[in-house]
């Protein structure tokens, strides 16, 4: 048997291996090799022994197979109530079997488990709210992903993503130099319109340390400039770290807990180095979940909290609007019907549902809620890394039907979604289903309607 080159159980730790993986178009060779990847049952058994404790075992055991979780799942509903999409079935037929068989499972089983873990579940945790026992199937699925990652059964893009974090401390190949250059470039790009624009790098003892999603640095640098303008208008004393600027965690989606730990550690180190009063995270859902909610545990912080208090961008916006540091021009408020999509990762898993509504009360005249919303909102279909997995693109698109219908029912043509993955998913939803909607982060909308103080305006020549 030929030896696997691309698809192994080893994580990607060096650039050479990463480049080879990246050259494999759509992971063709990678997935071919996966068919002959051996399951190390002894290692799997040991991992179960070390990490599968009473909480997970009890969840798996006390499920009374009542099926009440079914209707809670966007994928079950979107797939015409296919019983194979019942959350309990998805977890019992994968993780449940692995635990029952004490890790004695074969290659075909693991490949199917990979399909279920990444192609049929976004770990949105909604079904958890509908289980009488509170069996958290999002957490179980995430645990399963960890087992699969340790054995090398992980989608190609997730393997690459985890490798990126391990090598670059970012989900994309953006180095510290690239990042700092991008900040400087943005100041130059925007200085005509915003002469007073600053993006202070590595300033110590600032009130706010701002951290972003690598996509902003690589593909959407204007987002950073927009943040800078809004911080400037609000008169914030803020900074970005040169190292530890990246919040996201494809490693979390991949189930690579060591990669996830390394990533959040870089942000916490920046906090220790720059000693900001608080940190603000950009408009990203999973990044907040990873770095603020789960990260402290990966990094072994006993408090369960980040070293300094952390706000999601929506919290900062709400605070700035509340305190009047950002003032909305009443004439420029959003007049058309507008709806707000809640990101599972900082709503259900972060408790920030009310913040979005507070913001909408300042900026929108005809705000229309989706039903259900807040803690019970449906996933956009693209969470949990599913957006980025080419192999499961069809599954993702089908899974978006529930969100599509939710949006249509509001009658709104504008969807505000302060989350990168949701933003992508809703963009793709429009591309697939053509329902005539627009989608936006908060920053560009706010920029259009805030009252700009004199000193921020360009000087008349």
């Amino acid at each position: 048997m030929t030896k696997n080159i691309l698809c192994t159980s080893d994580p990607v730790n060096d650039k050479e291996t990463l480049d080879v993986l990246l050259r494999d178009k759509r992971g063709q060779q990678y997935y071919d090799e996966m068919k002959r990847l051996e399951v190390d049952t002894a290692a799997l058994q040991k991992r179960l022994k070390d990490t599968c404790k009473s909480r997970i075992r009890t969840w798996l055991e006390i499920c009374t197979h009542c099926g009440m979780c079914a209707d809670a799942c966007a994928f079950y509903l979107s797939n015409d109530k296919d019983p194979k999409q019942v959350p309990s079935y998805k977890i019992q037929s994968t993780l449940g079997e692995i635990v029952k068989k004490k890790g004695n499972v074969n290659n075909a089983f693991m490949r199917n488990a990979m399909y279920v873990a990444w192609g049929q579940c976004t770990c949105c945790n909604r079904c958890t709210l509908y289980c009488p026992f509170g069996i958290d199937m999002g957490v179980l699925m995430s645990y399963l992903r960890g087992l699969l990652f340790s054995q090398g059964f992980v989608p190609w893009e997730m393997k690459i993503g985890s490798g990126m974090h391990r090598i670059f401390r970012a989900q994309m190949d953006v180095t510290v130099e690239d990042w700092v250059d991008t900040c400087e470039w943005m100041i130059e790009e925007w200085e005509d319109e915003w002469p007073d624009l600053k993006i202070p790098v590595d300033k110590k003892n600032a009130d706010i340390m701002y951290t972003v999603n690598a996509r902003e640095a690589k593909h959407y640098p204007d987002d950073i400039a927009e943040a800078a303008v809004l911080f400037g208008i609000a008169g914030e004393n803020w900074t970005v770290p040169s190292e530890g600027w990246e919040e996201t965690s494809l490693a979390m989606f991949a189930g690579d807990w060591e990669g996830a730990r390394l990533q959040v550690k870089s942000v916490y180190d920046a906090m220790d180095r720059l000693k900001p009063k608080r940190m603000v995270v950009t408009e990203c859902g999973h990044a907040y979940r990873a770095t603020v909610i789960e990260g402290p545990y990966w990094a072994g912080l006993k408090s369960g909290k980040t070293p300094v208090e952390t706000l999601h961008y929506v919290e900062w916006v709400a605070e700035a609007l509340r305190s009047g540091r950002l003032k909305i021009d009443p004439a420029k408020k959003i007049k058309e019907p507008v709806t707000y999509h809640d990101s599972c990762n900082y709503i259900r898993n972060g408790g920030l549902s009310h913040i979005g509504r507070e913001i909408m009360s300042y900026i929108a005249e005809d705000f229309r809620e989706m039903t259900p919303n807040g803690d019970h909102n449906f996933c956009c279909g693209g969470g949990g890394g599913l957006n980025g997995i080419g192999r499961y693109r069809k599954e993702r698109n089908i899974g978006q039907k529930v969100k599509r219908d939710q949006i249509l029912a509001t009658g709104a043509k504008l969807v505000i979604t302060p989350c990168h993955n949701c933003w992508d998913a809703i963009r793709d939803l429009e591309e697939t289903y053509k329902i005539g909607i627009r989608w936006s982060f908060l920053k560009p909308l706010l920029l259009d309607m805030v009252i700009v103080p004199e000193h921020m305006k360009p000087k008349e020549e």
Partner: protein, 226 residues
Amino acid sequence: MYNFLTGPLAWISFLIFFIGILIRSSLYIKGLDSNIDRVTYRVNTSFGIKEAVRSIFFWLVPFLTSGWRTQPVMTILFFVFHISLLASTLFLKAHNMILQERWGFSIITIPDVVSDYLAIAVIVSAIILIIRRIKLPQVKILTKPSDYLIIVISIAPFLTGFLAFHQFGNYTFWMLTHIISGELLLIIIPFTKLSHSFLFFLARAQLGMDYGIKRGGMKRQKGMVW
């Protein structure tokens, strides 16, 4: 036979029942791990306890959670089954008379006719639950043969008790099978899916703590919307 069943065997089954619950609950709590579960059970505990209590309470009241409200038929079935099952067992006059005789105490009782209807409610709702398992594809796919067996074992004491009470055929036979099936039920509760009867409280408390301490509990305005 009767003396053996209500004497030593009753003692043994109650001991297994209570000690089993105690051991399994202790093992559950002992197995909770702040690092692995990623919940600081010992830091910000008060937030956790508050949500743990809410998490249990909301699910104990019919139609209080979104889950109950979205599935009204299941909710009615669920509560009728569980309340009837507990009430007809605990508050039955005959059971309390035995308690009084053996241990010198008893708890409140309900009229026999009420117990009778409750026993019927247990049996009927169990039958509907079985039909639900067979008919609904989303439940059928989850169902294993053991799920049916568990329901049969669970309702056996009610069926036999009902038949004995009404003296259908051979009273002694039904009474003895009633005692045996009741004791069998007690013995298997701690070791089967029926352990959900007490692990429900622990699992819900754990999830409550998870949401209360870690997943937004300190920011969410009025607690988790269950």
